[in-house]
Subunit: 402 residues, 2 copies
């Protein structure tokens, strides 16, 4: 299959590109390197020593004897180039990771809020109109987020796969209707994914575009079978307060002797998935697209749910790390339940990597090995949801020794 991976240089996009290439697909990465440029802006770097994209691609060719194409293009601003590229490559599937994906970053300043909305909405909408304009029969797979559902909206009821059956009162009784699960985003980043849902819904209906929206949980883990083959292929590992995801941050903190930073009570329950399962899910999604005329196909890309405090305690028990309770910069409930339906992926053959399997490998092989690359002043999360909210001082001042 000819597959375009938009955002293929990022944390999910890079291992997806390698996995699909390794499994015989013909891959072209489209990326404007924005994630690396935001690292420059934030004065932080991946804990793991990621190589420039050209070195990554050369190393992959050396290791696998397979070629991955690369085009540096900004979806939000280079519309004509996007159309030309689609007509030249005529992909069978497009995997769309090319959106600003950190909630804390999206809440840092009015400027980052505006960037997140402008970049994500324009990029995604340009892609949709480009598909209409070119008339290509291509299946689009987009990375959404569990955050579109929010937390606690339906009490203890399981979160369905995208659509919710409800009863609507009428003068004569009630109607049954299937609706898109009500949007309940917790940040500007999550908000953009709820906007995407409406864009997709319209273009599926009006133009018959074939769209799958994957509502992914929090990704943890670093390496896949492919990225582990050569150090030059290593995946990025974000540990900073904006881009680091909670479990990876705990693992890094445990490895360097930093307290595990618990923002709020820890009663928040979240959904997780290992990066190895992310890449498998993407392949399942491109192999099982909807038909033209179908509504948007929504799948929940998660394998486990955990309370954050339970995660911290588990890692504390394994490593002796203490937990530091810090102010919560997010406007969210102290506690929530979370049950998520993921029947579709399980039925299509996904065999999840469970948390208990991968944790130690991460601590020793990734966080432990690259601990000398940590900047301790980047660990505390300082983006706040409203101006003036409380934050914490640094808990560690010295760079850990190798």
């Amino acid at each position: 299959m000819r597959v375009l991976v938009l955002g293929g240089d990022g944390f999910c996009g890079w291992p997806t590109s390698l996995y699909l290439s390794d499994h015989g697909h013909d891959i072209t990465i489209v990326d404007n390197l924005s994630r690396r440029k935001i690292d420059v802006e934030l004065e932080v770097d991946s804990l793991t020593p990621i190589r420039p994209i050209s070195q990554r691609l050369a190393a992959w060719q050396e290791v696998s004897d397979r070629t991955i194409g690369f085009v540096n293009l900004d979806l939000a601003t280079d519309y004509d180039a996007l159309v030309a590229l689609l007509l030249e490559l005529r992909p069978d599937a497009i995997v769309h990771f090319a959106e600003q994906r950190a909630a804390p970053y999206s809440m840092r300043t009015q400027q980052t809020k505006r960037y997140t909305v402008d970049n994500n909405v324009r990029g995604t909408h340009n892609l949709l109109t480009a598909l209409v304009e070119t008339g290509l029969d291509v299946s689009l797979v987009h990375l959404g987020t569990m955050g579109v559902y929010g937390y606690g909206w339906s009490g203890s009821a399981p979160i369905p796969e995208g659509y919710l059956a409800v009863k609507v009162p009428t003068p004569d009784g009630e109607l049954e209707r299937e609706i898109l699960h009500p949007a309940n985003p917790g940040s500007v980043y999550h908000l953009t994914k709820t906007l995407d849902q409406l864009l997709f819904s319209f273009y599926a209906k009006n133009d018959g575009l074939r769209i799958t929206d994957l509502h992914q949980g929090i990704v943890w883990g670093t390496q896949t079978d492919q990225t582990a083959r050569d150090e030059r292929l290593i995946n990025r590992f974000d540990y900073d307060g904006d881009y680091g995801t909670v479990l990876n941050r705990f693992l890094m903190q445990a490895a360097i002797g930093h307290p595990l930073t618990m923002h709020g009570t820890g009663g928040q329950t979240r959904a997780f998935i290992h990066i190895r399962d992310t890449v498998r899910c993407i392949e399942i999604a491109i192999n099982n697209p909807p038909e033209s005329g179908d509504k948007v196909l929504v799948r929940n890309q998660v394998t486990e749910t955990h309370r954050l405090l339970d995660l911290a305690k588990m890692i504390g028990d394994m490593t002796g790390s203490e937990i530091a309770y810090l102010p919560n910069p997010r406007l969210e409930a102290d506690e929530n339940d979370l049950i998520v339906r993921n029947d579709q992926f399980l039925a299509l053959g996904l065999q999840p990597t469970t948390l208990s399997e991968g944790l130690l490998e991460e601590i020793t092989e990734i966080a432990g090995r690259y601990r000398h690359r940590v900047d301790p002043h980047k660990i505390i999360a300082r983006s706040v949801w409203r101006a003036g909210m409380e934050t914490s001082a640094d808990l560690m001042a010295e760079v850990p020794q190798q």
Copy 2:
């Protein structure tokens, strides 16, 4: 009250500005004149001879002895200027009309789809972040559309005022939840108003912004008490296939002896409001804003509903005009019921102008008086919802005589 009217040079914005000024409010219009520029692009002009904004404002000062300010600014691109303006003027209320507002225009080409999304979403989001950044205590009144609800979604049940009470099944029984009415937009233009709803909902929740969203029906009529005081104040009247609204188009067609253009069966039912009631509703809205911390206040700004065929027959009976049945360029149901709740505005004192009161005035005083300004080649609607859909040839070739 100090009021900023964004889009105050347009069809609704101009009479609103004059009405509010006439009622003692201190008005500043912000407009980038995009509506006039789109006329240039489409090679069409208002049927009524609208004056340049500076002449309009000078005439208003002459007639009323009141001053209206004007700032030429693009919400979507001039963010810093917007922030500076807000800090300088410190308005009590902002009325936001500044979005591309024609469904057919939004569906013309991929370029107009992209413009509509980029302009509307960025402009509205910039406004929201500017309100957060400045910290001003200002109430925002936005013009939405009845089209966010779509047609026929809830069968014959009345369309509520923004929110819908539904029952959600749970493992133990069912929950009652109030949700934003599911979005069901029929064009890219309507789609942008559904995106706006999610933006508003987030910023009301996260930042306590005070927002009213007015879901307006199709506006008809041209003049208000204020715009009628001097011909230099006349409001615009769009008759073309992109910007002309259906009832105004019928009135113009009757006045020039053109068949009444019925796209589809005419079984479509739509909601209407006279421009005189639009301006009253805006004043009611700025006088009755929500509190900080409230959810977005949604009001349905409509006064009557009619089947399009009934409207055409009514005008045909009054004038002898025939009805021409043309292909429908929209992807929509042939027929729909429509009952709309508008209890809030009625309770707050709105006394509607009914269709039967204003029709003849429009035909004689507006369409009849300016009939020589019609370009008959602009009457047929030719924007189609999908490439290749059928359209009609012109039905009239000669410019009508004065």
